[in-house]
């Protein structure tokens, strides 16, 4: 936009009015006035729209095709949810409007909370957190508040995390003031229960797990893990990033979890990945409900709705009422799907992942070769040893085949990992084409094109140089 800028060009010009003109210097204290105008790009609306339309043509998105970015659940979001959130009665309401004028909004939020409670097997919900990691921090602060109340003299200081965990988990633990204890995975890719028992003591505040885990494998020992953690007074935190795998089939609450966050932008039709904002509600069991962030919407006996703050609330975690229009989308998706529809989401997600895993297992290394849930991890370690082709090279080649890349180099416990999550919204034809492309890339590894991608608007970027010589601002760009 700076390059398109032309001095004096405007997208808007205000009609002259009979209102008095004020000099900014009369209204703003001198110390706060800039000496020179801020150097903003000057464009006509016509140029601006052309610029952004041109950029959208260079984009790849979930609306264009498969996006098998593991752990991110980049599934297609039905437009019905957008249409619902765009209804003027929802979209045009000011967040400061009093409860008696926003009864419909409050009803929506209460009903969404009940639905998410039903899906997770939990008793109470906050809809405030604006994203998954914000939900994690909220959940951990609730964990802290619980222990501070139960064991005020010597609250625990550690949280246990498996070595396959999402990177946000240890970051959230640290931000919440806890120290991280890592437990290894066993040779089946699940939490090593003996190693977990060895680190459990009364200084453990809880454990963070995602189930299925980041390898796409269901933690079959979850009941034993829950018992062991509860026995030392710890709580179980469920990272809901992988909830798409279990919708309507099993519930974190039934597995023994105490706190759950959900990523509505992964599982419940909210745009995701630059297209946000997201929403990361947190659901808890009855005994933790009093610590939830406030205010929360409640329904009174007479059928009316109001805001209230839980008795020992940890306080607000977001302005206003969270990303409310994301919540409206999620509610529309829940209603349109119904309980049976949500279960079919999980069933199709798991079926698609297993179909693709079978298609690839003879062409890539498969570190944990057993049925998966909604995603699976293959490894390019063999391709690298034999042909020097790394996971990142496979990912770049896949862009030339017209697909988004899978997640690479994660989870960290798998060498040259490719983490693939096809999601439930891809057709058998798309899955077949994606599988075919990945098989072809593996077959062509001996003559791998190191310059891929070649068919994309931007070619292979030098990620190493970009990271070593970070230039985060426009002004610092090297000039010709």
């Amino acid at each position: 936009m700076f390059e398109l800028s032309s001095p004096g060009r405007r997208s808007w010009s205000f009609r002259s009015t009979d209102l008095p003109e004020w000099d900014a210097a009369e209204l703003v204290p001198a110390g706060h006035l800039a000496d020179e105008p801020v150097p903003l790009p000057e464009l006509s609306e016509r140029d601006l729209v052309a610029h952004h339309t041109r950029l959208t043509h260079r984009q790849y998105s979930v609306d264009l095709g498969a996006y098998p970015l593991g752990s991110c659940t980049m599934k297609y979001n039905p437009k019905l949810a957008d249409a619902a959130a765009a209804m003027p009665g929802l979209a045009s309401v000011h967040p400061m409007a009093p409860a008696q004028l926003t009864q419909g909004w409050l009803e929506l939020l209460v009903e969404l909370g009940l639905a998410l409670g039903e899906v997770t097997g939990m008793d109470a919900v906050t809809l405030q957190p604006p994203a998954g990691a914000a939900g994690e921090l909220t959940g951990l602060l609730i964990m802290r508040a619980h222990h501070a109340a139960e064991r005020p003299d010597r609250p625990p200081t550690k949280v246990v995390i498996p070595d396959s965990a999402h990177g946000t988990n240890p970051a959230s633990v640290t931000l919440a003031g806890y120290s991280v204890v890592t437990v290894p995975s066993d040779d089946r890719g699940c939490v090593d229960v003996a190693a977990l028992r060895a680190v459990l003591d009364d200084d453990v505040a809880g454990i963070m797990l995602t189930n299925p885990n980041t390898l796409g494998l269901f933690e079959e020992d979850i009941a034993e893990i829950a018992g062991a953690v509860h026995d030392v007074g710890g709580l179980l935190y469920y990272d809901g990033a992988n909830l798409n795998a279990i919708l309507g089939v099993t519930r974190p609450g039934d597995m023994g979890f105490d706190i759950v966050h959900l990523n509505l932008h992964k599982t419940f039709a909210v745009p995701h990945g630059g297209g946000g904002p997201g929403a990361g509600p947190v659901a808890v069991t009855e005994r933790l409900a009093r610590y939830l962030p406030g205010p929360v919407p409640v329904r009174d006996a007479d059928g009316s709705y109001r805001w209230t703050t839980p008795s020992r609330s940890i306080g607000r975690v977001h302005g206003w009422h969270g990303n409310a229009l994301a919540l409206a989308r999620a509610y529309a998706y829940v209603l349109a799907s119904g309980g049976d529809g949500l279960r079919r989401v999980a069933e199709a997600a798991v079926l698609n992942a297993n179909w693709l895993r079978q298609r690839l297992r003879d062409h890539y290394d498969v570190p944990f070769d057993r049925p998966c849930m909604h995603e699976f991890v293959v490894s390019a370690a063999g391709l690298r040893r034999r042909h020097g082709v790394k996971a990142i090279d496979v990912a770049k080649r896949l862009l030339d085949e017209g697909f988004h890349a899978p997640t690479v180099a994660f989870p960290l416990i798998v060498e040259e990992a490719l983490m693939i999550e096809p999601t439930e919204t891809e057709s058998p034809q798309t899955l077949a084409a994606l599988g075919e492309a990945l098989v072809r890339i593996a077959a062509e590894a001996p003559s791998e094109d190191p310059g891929a991608p070649r068919n994309t608007p931007v070619g292979r970027v030098d990620e190493v140089r970009a990271a070593r010589r970070l230039i985060p601002t426009y002004d610092a760009r090297p000039r010709a």
């Binding site: 180099a409 960290l412 190493v464 990271a467 070593r468």
Partner: protein, 126 residues
């Protein structure tokens, strides 16, 4: 995979070269290969007391951030400041220009308890 015979190794993939009463250390060829292109090295401070097995540095690659552990107990007496601007030395020359720091040994005998080259090769092969 380069594993010089005259060095000692930790099971966390650090190498140690004894130089009188001090030990020069870095990460192994295997470690740099697994990490991929290193883009940032957080260096320890000269004068810092370190304990064997404790984290003294962080190495960031395009793939991940990994901790570097002190292979021996002692005091950091010299730090390879060049790595701040030239982190690629860890990839290009892990046993030479890619050294991370020099530690004054609290206990000379501690080095003997580290793996020798053959032991380290066996660890990596497994």
């Amino acid at each position: 995979m380069d594993t010089p015979d005259d060095l000692r190794y930790s099971s966390d993939h650090e190498w140690v070269r004894v130089e009188g009463g001090t030990a020069r250390m870095g990460i192994t060829d295997y470690a740099q290969d697994a990490l991929g292109d290193v883009v940032f090295v957080q260096l320890p401070s000269a004068g810092a007391a370190v304990t064997a097995g404790s984290s003294i540095s962080e190495v960031e690659s395009t793939k991940s951030v990994s901790e570097v552990y002190a292979p021996v107990t002692g005091t950091v007496v010299e730090v390879n400041d060049e790595l701040a601007d030239q982190p690629q030395h860890l990839n290009e020359d892990p046993y030479g220009d890619g050294w991370i720091c020099v530690i004054e040994l609290a206990d000379r005998g501690e080095v003997d308890r580290l793996l020798d080259a053959e032991g380290y090769r066996k660890l990596v092969d497994d």
